[in-house]
C-alpha cells in the first residue's frame, strides 16, 4: 500500500524549502489547490490480507460492523476496518494478535451456545448478532473502565481492543491505512479536504469582526 503519495511529498518539500515570502504570497492559492490534489492522491488502496485468514477476516468484519454499523452512511465495513486491523496486527499492534485469536474462539463459543444452529457469528441474523455482541460487550464493560486516551493501553480484553481498533480503522487519516475513500469522515460530517478557508461553519458565517466591549477599553 502506498501510504504517502509522491505528489504530496513533493508538495510538502516545496513548502518546507526556503522559498521567499513574496513567492509564497503570490502562489498561495495554487499551493492550497496542490495540497488538496496531493492529499486526495494519498487515499489508501485496498490492500490484501496479511495476518487474518479469509475466515477470520469475515468474522472480524462482522464484529466491527456491530460497533459501527452500515446504514444511510458508511460503516466499519465500507471503511475497510478489517484491512486496517490486519495491517496493524502485522506491525504496531502485533502484541494484540493472541487477543484476536482467543477472542474469535470465544465469539464462536458464544455463538454456538446461544444459537446452536448457527455455524459462525457472521452467519447469524442481524438480531442474533445483536444478542451475541451485547453479551460480549456487557461482559467486557463489567471488567473494564473503558479505553484510555488515544491508545488501547494494556487491556487484554477482546471487545475493548476491537473497539479501539475499529474506531481507528474507521476514522484514521487514510494515510494510516483505514477510512477507505474517507468513508468514516463522510459518516461523521468531516470534510475530507486537506485545507480550509473561513467561514468554517454556521456560527462564523456572519461574524462582523472583533470589537472591544463598548466603554471598557481601559486596562483593568
Amino acid at each position: 500500500m502506498n501510504s504517502f503519495h509522491p505528489a504530496r511529498r513533493d508538495f510538502l518539500q516545496l513548502l518546507g524549502g526556503t522559498v521567499s515570502a513574496a513567492w509564497l504570497t503570490a502562489n498561495w492559492p495554487a499551493l492550497v489547490s496542490a495540497a488538496e490534489h496531493a492529499h486526495q492522491a494519498a487515499k489508501s488502496d485496498h490492500p490484501s490480507l496479511e495476518v487474518f485468514t479469509p475466515d477470520q477476516a469475515r468474522e472480524v468484519e462482522a464484529l466491527a460492523a456491530c460497533i459501527i454499523p452500515s446504514g444511510e452512511t458508511p460503516g466499519a465495513r465500507e471503511a475497510g476496518v478489517v484491512y486496517f486491523i490486519d495491517r496493524a496486527l502485522k506491525s504496531f499492534f502485533s502484541d494484540a494478535l493472541p487477543v484476536y485469536q482467543k477472542g474469535l474462539d470465544a465469539v464462536q463459543k458464544n455463538t454456538t451456545e446461544l444459537f446452536p444452529g448457527v455455524a459462525r457469528f457472521s452467519a447469524a441474523t442481524e438480531e442474533q448478532k445483536l444478542t451475541i455482541f451485547t453479551q460480549i460487550a456487557e461482559e467486557s464493560e463489567r471488567q473494564n473502565d473503558g479505553p484510555r486516551r488515544f491508545a488501547p493501553g494494556s487491556s487484554q480484553d477482546f471487545f475493548q481492543i476491537l473497539r479501539v481498533h475499529t474506531i481507528y480503522g474507521f476514522l484514521v487519516d487514510p494515510e494510516g491505512g483505514g477510512n477507505f475513500d474517507y468513508a468514516g469522515w463522510k459518516a461523521i460530517g468531516r470534510d475530507p479536504a486537506h485545507s480550509f478557508s473561513p467561514p468554517f461553519g454556521f456560527y462564523d458565517k456572519d461574524y462582523p469582526g472583533w470589537q472591544p466591549v463598548p466603554g471598557e477599553t481601559e486596562k483593568k
Binding site: 513548502l15 509564497l24 460497533i67 504496531f92 460487550a137 473561513p198
Partner: protein, 553 residues
C-alpha cells in the same frame, strides 16, 4: 531540503553544548551561534523535517512519532513520597528536533506582572513552597516582544483589558475566528467578560520563507507540514544552522554531565543511535532538556564531588513540579461549528486571571474556547459520558456531535509543593540500564478547588452561548503532565533555588539551565511563550558573561 550546518567532532571543545533542541534550546542555539559562538545541540529524538509530518494518528498517537517513547524510556508515578511508584505514562514531551514546540497547541500568552511577584502580594500559603521570581515582567518584556517578532506570533495587541504592558504590537493579525470563538465571545459579552483573539504561535501570513496556516486542523499533537506553526524546528533552528557555527546532532541520548576536579563542567556524555558512548567537550554546558529530563540528568550526574546530583546543594533539583491545573467543559450546539478546521483556539478570556481573594482561592486562570481533537481522539475524549459505546446509537451520536462540539478549557495555576517532583526511580531502569524518571505528584488542594470554580464558570458560559447539551470532565487529582515547570527554579538564594537570574547554576559556574524547570511560578498555563522569552534573555546574559571572560569560552 538541505540546510548548511556546521559539524564538529565530540573531541572538539566547542563553546557551548546545549542539551535539547526544543522551545528554549532552539532559541539559545540560534542566539549564541549568531553571537559568534560554536555550538553543538544534542537532541534525544530524531531530526524530522516538515516533509516527514503526517496526519496519520497511528504514527503520532500510537507509535509516538514526535514524543517520548515509554517502551525504551519508562516513567513511574506515585502520589506521595511514601508510595512505591508504578510504571505509567505520566509525562508527555516532544522527542524530536524542536521538542514539544513541534506538537503543541501554540497558545501563546505572555505571563502577567502578577506571576512574577505573587508571593509578595499573597504571602505564604499553607502546604505551598511559594516564592517570587528574581526578575520582573518588565525585565522580560523586551524578550517577549523578541519572541513574537522572531518566531512569528499572530494576535491583536490591546484587545484584552487585562494584558500586561507591551512595547510593540504583534507582527501579524490574529488567525481567523472559528465557530467556537464566535459563540464564546458572544456568551462572554452577555456575561460581562472580555473574550479576545487568542495570541497563537502560528503564522496568519507568510513570513520568512514559511507558509501561513492552511487550517488543516491537525494541530495539537502533530507537526505542521507547511511550517506555519512557529516551532523551534521551523523558526529558530534554521537560523542557527545558517550561521555555519551550530550543529544540531539528533539521536543523542545525553545521560551525564561530566565535571573536572575543580567542579567545572567539561561536556556532555551521550549514547548515539548505535549505543556508542561519546563525550562532547564544551567550555560551557546548557541544559534545555525540559522540566523532567533536565533534573533527571542532573541527578544522573552525581559524583563524589556532587553526591546528591550536579548543581543540587540546595536539594531543589526536581522539586516543586507545577504542571498547571486544568478543567474542561464541553458543549454541543444546534448547528455545525465545524471546529475541526483550523488551529484549536481562536478566542480566550483573562477575566479570571487574578481571582478576588474574597473567593478564598489563590491564583487564577485563563479560559479558551477550543476544539483540539482529531476524528479519532474525539471518540475517546469528546463524547458525553452517557453516549452508547457501540452500535447505531454510538454512530449517530458521533455523527451529530463531531461537527457541533466545542470545549471550554480552563487553564490555571499550580502551586509549588516541595514533594511534587521528578526523581530517579530506584527500581525501574530504561533500555540503557539507567534509572527511570519517577514523578511524585498530588495537586495542592487550592488548585483543585479553583478548578471546580473555573469549571462552573465554563458551564455558565456554555449556557449563555446556547449549548443544547453540556457536561464537564471530572475535576480529579492529576496523574499526567505536559507542562513540566519549576523543577530547577531560579532565585537569588542558593539554599532555595538551583540557578540564579542569569540561569547559571549556583554550584557550577559554567553550567546553565533554561527550560520549564527554571520557572518559579506556573503562571496560568501556556508556559512556552515565557520559556522562550527566558531563553532569549538567558542568551543575552550568557553572551555578556562569556564576553567578559566569566565562563572562559
Amino acid at each position: 531540503m538541505n540546510r548548511p550546518m556546521a559539524t564538529y567532532k565530540p573531541s572538539d571543545e566547542v563553546d557551548f553544548v546545549i542539551i535539547g533542541s526544543g522551545a528554549a534550546g532552539g532559541v539559545l542555539a540560534k542566539e549564541l551561534s549568531t553571537n559568534g559562538f560554536r555550538v553543538v545541540v544534542l537532541e534525544q529524538g530524531e531530526y524530522l523535517r516538515e516533509k516527514d509530518f503526517t496526519h496519520d494518528e497511528t504514527k503520532v498517537f500510537l507509535q509516538s512519532q514526535l514524543t517520548n517513547k515509554v517502551n525504551t524510556h519508562p516513567i513511574t508515578f506515585r502520589k506521595t513520597p511514601e508510595e512505591t511508584a508504578r510504571k505509567q505514562q505520566a509525562v508527555l514531551y516532544g522527542s524530536c528536533v524542536g521538542g514539544s514546540s513541534v506538537h503543541f497547541t501554540a497558545n501563546f500568552w505572555r505571563f502577567h506582572e502578577i506571576d512574577f511577584k505573587e508571593h509578595s502580594k499573597t504571602g505564604n500559603i499553607p502546604g505551598a513552597n511559594f516564592a517570587d521570581w528574581p526578575i520582573s515582567y518588565a525585565n522580560l518584556e523586551p524578550y517577549y516582544t523578541k519572541v513574537e517578532w522572531e518566531i512569528g506570533v499572530s494576535g491583536l495587541a490591546g484587545s484584552s483589558p487585562f494584558d500586561p504592558p507591551r512595547s510593540k504590537p504583534y507582527p501579524m493579525p490574529p488567525l481567523p475566528v472559528k465557530g467556537n470563538g464566535v459563540v464564546f465571545e458572544r456568551a462572554c459579552r452577555k456575561l460581562g467578560y472580555h473574550a479576545f483573539p487568542s495570541p497563537m504561535a502560528i503564522l496568519s501570513q507568510p513570513r520568512a520563507g514559511r507558509a501561513a496556516c492552511m487550517n488543516c486542523g491537525f494541530c495539537l499533537g502533530f507537526g505542521c507540514e507547511v511550517g506555519a506553526k512557529s516551532s523551534s524546528l521551523s523558526s529558530v533552528i534554521p537560523m542557527a544552522e545558517k550561521t555555519g557555527r551550530c550543529e544540531i546532532r539528533a539521536n543523542c541520548y545525553v545521560h551525564r554531565i561530566e565535571t573536572d576536579k575543580n567542579g567545572r563542567a567539561i561536556g556532555a556524555v551521550y549514547f548515539d543511535a548505535q549505543r556508542n558512548t561519546h563525550l562532547q567537550k564544551a567550555k560551557a554546558v546548557i541544559l534545555s532538556a525540559n522540566g523532567a529530563e533536565t533534573p533527571r540528568l542532573l541527578l544522573l550526574s552525581a559524583s563524589n564531588q556532587f553526591p546528591s546530583g550536579l548543581a543540587n546543594s540546595s536539594g531543589y533539583v526536581g522539586k516543586n513540579l507545577m504542571p498547571n491545573s486544568s478543567a474542561i467543559a464541553f458543549g454541543v450546539f444546534d448547528e455545525p461549528l465545524n471546529d475541526y478546521k483550523g488551529p484549536a483556539v481562536s478566542r480566550i478570556m483573562h477575566d479570571f486571571y487574578e481571582l478576588d481573594p474574597k473567593l478564598g482561592l489563590y491564583g487564577g486562570g485563563g479560559l479558551d474556547a477550543r476544539f483540539d481533537f482529531t476524528p479519532v481522539s474525539f471518540v475517546f475524549n469528546g463524547l458525553p459520558p452517557s453516549t452508547p459505546r457501540w452500535g447505531a446509537g454510538f454512530k449517530q451520536a458521533l455523527a451529530h456531535n463531531f461537527p457541533r462540539t466545542l470545549e471550554i478549557f480552563c487553564h490555571g495555576t499550580s502551586l509549588p509543593v516541595e514533594s511534587n517532583s521528578f526523581s530517579l526511580d530506584p527500581q525501574v531502569k530504561d533500555a540503557w540500564g539507567l534509572p527511570a524518571l519517577r514523578m511524585t505528584f498530588r495537586d495542592h488542594p487550592n488548585d483543585l478547588k479553583m478548578m471546580e470554580w473555573m469549571k462552573d464558570r465554563a458551564l455558565e458560559i456554555l449556557d449563555a452561548a446556547g449549548a443544547k447539551t453540556r457536561w464537564n470532565s471530572p475535576i480529579e487529582e492529576q496523574q499526567f503532565a505536559v507542562h513540566l515547570l519549576g523543577t530547577c527554579r531560579m532565585g537569588n538564594d542558593p539554599k532555595t533555588s538551583v540557578i540564579n537570574a542569569d540561569h547559571r547554576a549556583h554550584d557550577v559556574e559554567n553550567l546553565f539551565l533554561c527550560d520549564g524547570s527554571s520557572l518559579v511560578t506556573s503562571g496560568r498555563g501556556q508556559p512556552t511563550m515565557t520559556i522562550q522569552a527566558l531563553a532569549y534573555r538567558a542568551a543575552d546574559r550568557i553572551t555578556a558573561l562569556a564576553k567578559r571572560g566569566d565562563i572562559s569560552t
